[in-house]
């Protein structure tokens, strides 16, 4: 018998195992939990941003569970593999950090609150010292709730003024000077509810701000007229132009992504039910009820689910991703085609130990970074970071 055929068969069998090339590198895919051995501390992740070196800054609030007060500000720097490089908890009075992390030419910024005066600080992360420094303070803006970067490299800040019982939206320029401010009356006293929101001792509400298209107008999900309302405001002066009003504080809009002009991807909630609208239109000059928006009810989402929506482009394909928390304590990522609205794929993160989504960003490799809170050993609230490669978004790794 000739040995040659046997050798050929053996080589063919061996070659099967090397046919599938793995193009995904360690920086493209990982899952990390940032450990802390102090059992009295809980982390509440807020936002994440990718740095120029491929690593990540994570902004989170930190509570000492034995004393419930305003939460401390915690910053984490990781490398491109998600490994922790440094972390710091800012000393008082810098408490109650808010979303979002804002990247400008001078660095990465965020806003937090003075523990005593309740005024607002603009902070800049200093990678060299592994800490953050005060860039500006706005003592007249109290109870900061949410912020976002605007296309002109300024930012919007949503806050609550307890004296006038109003939500306040303030626009800052790229030099961090105040451009305008406008208030939207809540009418009733919301301070107790907001204190519970900020100290995580009660119900948390989906406060956020954003920009429509390229800056045609701005929006804010804020307390307004006895309810949680999604407000459209004039980008020049903050005048209210339209709104989607909620069902008191038990229903309303939970997340929005502006697609183009009046086209939006929206998530809304009514008590413990959650609805998504991957492609809908909202007029910035109309007043409608959130319930009129309709949408697909997602029954697997948890009653208190937080939802984030992001637009992303993967291999030239425009997508929308919804991230939310399920009844089985996992994170559900649902990807839709931006143009057709068709479902592209679903992905679940986490198992056994609960995970909740906090924020998500598209990374420079066209993948997705998902910031989450997990409960280590089913007990301790810690920050977690999932990095998903683009191949898994488009299902190319199967």
């Amino acid at each position: 018998m000739k040995i040659k055929p046997i050798i050929i068969i053996a080589l063919l069998l061996l070659s099967i195992s090397s046919c599938k090339k793995d193009n995904i590198n360690p920086e493209n895919i990982f899952a990390k939990v940032y450990s802390d051995e102090n059992s009295d501390i809980s982390y509440y992740p807020l936002d994440i941003i990718q740095t120029s070196d491929g690593g990540y800054y994570i902004l989170s609030a930190l509570s000492v569970d034995s004393v419930r007060t305003f939460l401390s500000t915690h910053i984490t720097k990781t490398d491109n593999l998600g490994e922790l490089v440094w972390q710091t908890t800012l000393s008082e009075p810098y408490v109650n950090p808010i979303t979002s992390l804002i990247s400008s030419g001078s660095g990465v910024h965020f806003l937090c609150m003075d523990r005593i005066t309740l005024g607002t600080y603009l902070m800049r992360i200093d990678d060299a010292t592994g800490s953050a420094e005060v860039i500006n303070s706005y003592g007249d803006i109290i109870y900061p709730l949410a912020s976002s970067q605007t296309p002109d490299n300024g930012f919007l800040l949503l806050s609550y003024d307890r004296n006038s019982r109003s939500s306040l939206l303030t626009k800052f320029s790229s030099s961090f000077d105040k451009s305008w401010g406008n208030s939207y009356p809540v009418i009733e006293d919301a301070e107790e509810m907001l204190t519970a929101h900020m100290t995580r001792s009660g119900k948390t509400l989906p406060f956020f701000t954003g920009t429509v298209g390229n800056g045609e107008s701005y929006y804010a999900n804020a307390l307004f007229n006895y309810s949680l309302a999604f407000l459209f405001v004039n980008s020049g002066n903050g005048d209210l132009t339209g709104l989607v009003f909620g069902d008191r504080y038990n229903g309303g809009v939970s997340a929005v992504a502006s697609i183009q002009s009046e086209n939006f991807a929206v998530a809304r909630f009514v008590y413990d039910s959650h609805f998504i609208l991957p492609a809908t239109t909202l007029s910035s000059s109309a007043t409608v009820s959130a319930n009129e928006l309709g949408g697909e009810k997602i029954t697997e989402l948890a009653a208190e689910a937080h939802t984030s929506i992001k637009t992303l482009t993967v291999d030239g394909r425009n997508l929308i991703v919804y991230a939310s928390n399920t009844n089985s304590n996992q994170i559900l990522l649902t990807f839709f085609d931006l143009n057709s609205g068709e479902l592209v794929t679903k992905k679940y993160l986490g198992s056994t130990n609960p995970v909740k989504v906090a924020a998500l960003i598209q990374t420079t490799d066209e993948g997705l970074a998902v910031l989450a809170q997990t409960m280590v050993a089913g007990r301790f609230k810690r920050n977690a970071l999932y990095k998903i490669p683009k191949e898994q978004i488009l299902g190319l790794d199967d």
């Binding site: 018998m1 000739k2 040995i3 046997i6 050798i7 068969i9 053996a10 069998l13 061996l14 099967i16 195992s17 090397s18 046919c19 599938k20 793995d22 995904i24 590198n25 360690p26 493209n28 895919i29 990982f30 899952a31 990390k32 939990v33 940032y34 450990s35 802390d36 051995e37 102090n38 059992s39 009295d40 501390i41 569970d65 034995s66 990781t78 998600g82 490994e83 922790l84 440094w86 972390q87 996992q330 679940y348 993160l349 986490g350 198992s351 056994t352 130990n353 995970v355 280590v376 050993a377 007990r379 301790f380 490669p389 191949e391 790794d397």
Partner: protein, 296 residues
Amino acid sequence: MRPKHYLLIFLISFYSELLRSQDSYELPVMENINALSFQKASPSKTSGFNIENLAIGIKGGVNFSLIIPLSENSIFSSTGGDYSKEYNPFYQNIGYQMGFVIRYSLSREIKIKLQCSMNDYSFKYSNEYSWQGSTNLSYLTEYHQNMRFLEIPVLLGYYFKAEQWQPYVQAGLYYARLMNSNSYADITETTDNQVLTYSTTTNSNGIYQENQFGVIGGGGIRYAAGKAMIGIEANYRFLLSKLSSTTSRYGNNQVTGNYDITDDLLFNNIAISIHITVPLQCADSKDGPFIFCKSN
């Protein structure tokens, strides 16, 4: 019933059938291995394939996996924590294998073997984490990873000249296809007041690459029991492919959800097997047992 029990039952029943068939054919007891009829059927008789040079049989035994971590991976990250796994010694990583052997004699000394087998491998390691404060908790997790591979090794053996006991050495390549895998975790939670122990079983499919290959080498000794050959051999497997890829490491939510993740590691294995082979011999030689016969 565990695989080893199936293996024992199969080996016993096969051997009893073999002995019964030997009795019915009144086999002569061979005193010299060189006198064995299938050995006499040397390749020199024909230049091409000769079925009289073929022998088939079964094999089975135990194996022990040796894990050598190259670089460690952990779900956890901190500036000061140590999250490295502590691997159990190889003799605690016991597995089982059973399968078939097809052997072809290229010459009196050189033989080529195809050994198709189902191999169960296992390895164990543990992690320990602790938290201090109002709650003092230590969390010890002992993982027991199990994998079942369909393996097809191709071996070239050199058989030393001998009497009834014939030693041999062999080496070759093997291809392995992962059929199934699971992960047992024994968790011990210790607080100031109590110790709680529980176990979880997770299907770990997805965290290992399905197609694997490596090199195999070893040796053994066989005994000529009539027309049958009974032997014992030990083989060392060295996996050349990566057990887990960068992607597959995160390929199972249940596994990563339990904060478990595979290291970059060398996966080696020592397998000890007993085998019984019989020649595919024609009846007209009156030397049975046989399976095919040209005269029929």
